[in-house]
């Protein structure tokens, strides 16, 4: 191995900080499935189960999934909020297992907001 350059050091620094942030479980994407009575009656469990299956197939360690209570918009349940770090959160409405898979693959993994299913921004 030759002499280390500043660039090499920078690379090592970047790599280490990336690994450390993964180890400490920094979340870049938060997915919230709203599971109030209204959400559950409308099919939130199937949405959550589809999301769990997708999570099982990805190598990404920076995605957090959580369940929360009702948003107050019961008529558009099941609702799912996707919050990507540094971007406005998107609330999706009338979700089902298929739409959840699409939102996960396109929005969460590729950053492309699925406007067809979106209810609101922010």
């Amino acid at each position: 191995m030759g002499k280390m350059t500043i660039d090499d050091l920078k690379k090592i620094k970047e790599q280490t900080s990336e690994e450390t942030s993964l180890r400490h479980g920094a979340a870049n994407v938060k997915i919230t499935v709203h599971m109030g009575t209204c959400g559950i009656a409308a099919g939130a469990r199937e949405v959550m189960n589809a999301l769990m299956a997708e999570m099982g197939q990805t190598e990404r360690q920076d995605i957090r999934v959580m369940a929360s209570a009702c948003l107050g918009m019961c008529s558009s349940e099941p609702n799912v909020t996707v919050a990507v770090e540094g971007e406005e959160p998107i609330v999706y409405q009338h979700m089902d297992a298929n739409k959840m898979r699409q939102v996960f693959r396109r929005h969460v993994l590729e950053g492309e907001v699925q406007t067809d299913f979106a209810l609101a921004r922010g």
Binding site: G36, T37, I40, A41, E46, M48, N49, M52, G56, A67
Partner: protein, 178 residues
């Protein structure tokens, strides 16, 4: 709700919201008595006395986002409709137990349904907490305890892929049932 498993999910989520880190769900089927009993117990903060008085009133809720609270009133209604009843025992600071009974072969009784889906959702959405599921029937007893599962894997988190896969395997013994 189309399934009793969805009521169970709903009531158990209340426990998680109340800060519980241990939820015990028991489903007891007694063929001799033609009875089905479901109980959901948590170690959350419990229900204050004044709230308890109105807890099954659909127009009462502690939330501010909307003016109705349907979870427990729906569950109670389902139990009553099926020749049974629902009781809530709570000790502030200790936890809450919701018990509902049903006439097992009542024509209006919803199926128990996809309990595995309910349990996986509860476990995944509350990975720090523990969950025990007991299914008792004439054929014997099935017990799934996430604490035991984590112990087998040296207390690795439940969301760890190996632990999760093992848990999925255990869920196979729970069948979607009537």
């Amino acid at each position: 709700m189309k399934e009793l498993a969805l009521h169970i999910l709903d009531v158990a989520e209340n426990g998680i919201t109340a800060g519980a880190d241990r939820i015990c769900i028991t489903v007891k089927q007694d063929p001799a008595e033609n009875r089905l009993e479901i109980s959901i117990a948590d170690n959350g903060r419990g229900v204050p006395e004044d709230v308890m008085k109105r807890i099954t009133d659909p127009f009462y809720t502690t939330r501010t986002t909307r003016r109705v609270g349907l979870g427990l009133s729906l569950f109670e209604n389902t139990a009553r409709r099926c020749g049974g009843s629902m009781t809530i025992d709570s000790e502030p600071g200790q936890g809450t137990r919701v018990t509902a009974t049903f006439v097992h072969d009542h024509i209006d009784r919803p199926p128990l349904g996809d309990m595995a889906g309910t349990l996986m959702t509860l476990i995944y959405s509350n990975p720090e907490g523990d969950l025990v599921y007991r299914r008792q029937s004439g054929d014997g007893e099935i017990v799934i305890d996430t604490k035991q599962v984590r112990k087998q894997f040296n207390n690795r988190p439940i969301t760890d892929p190996d632990v999760f896969r093992h848990l999925m395997k255990q869920m196979e013994q729970i069948k979607t049932e009537r």
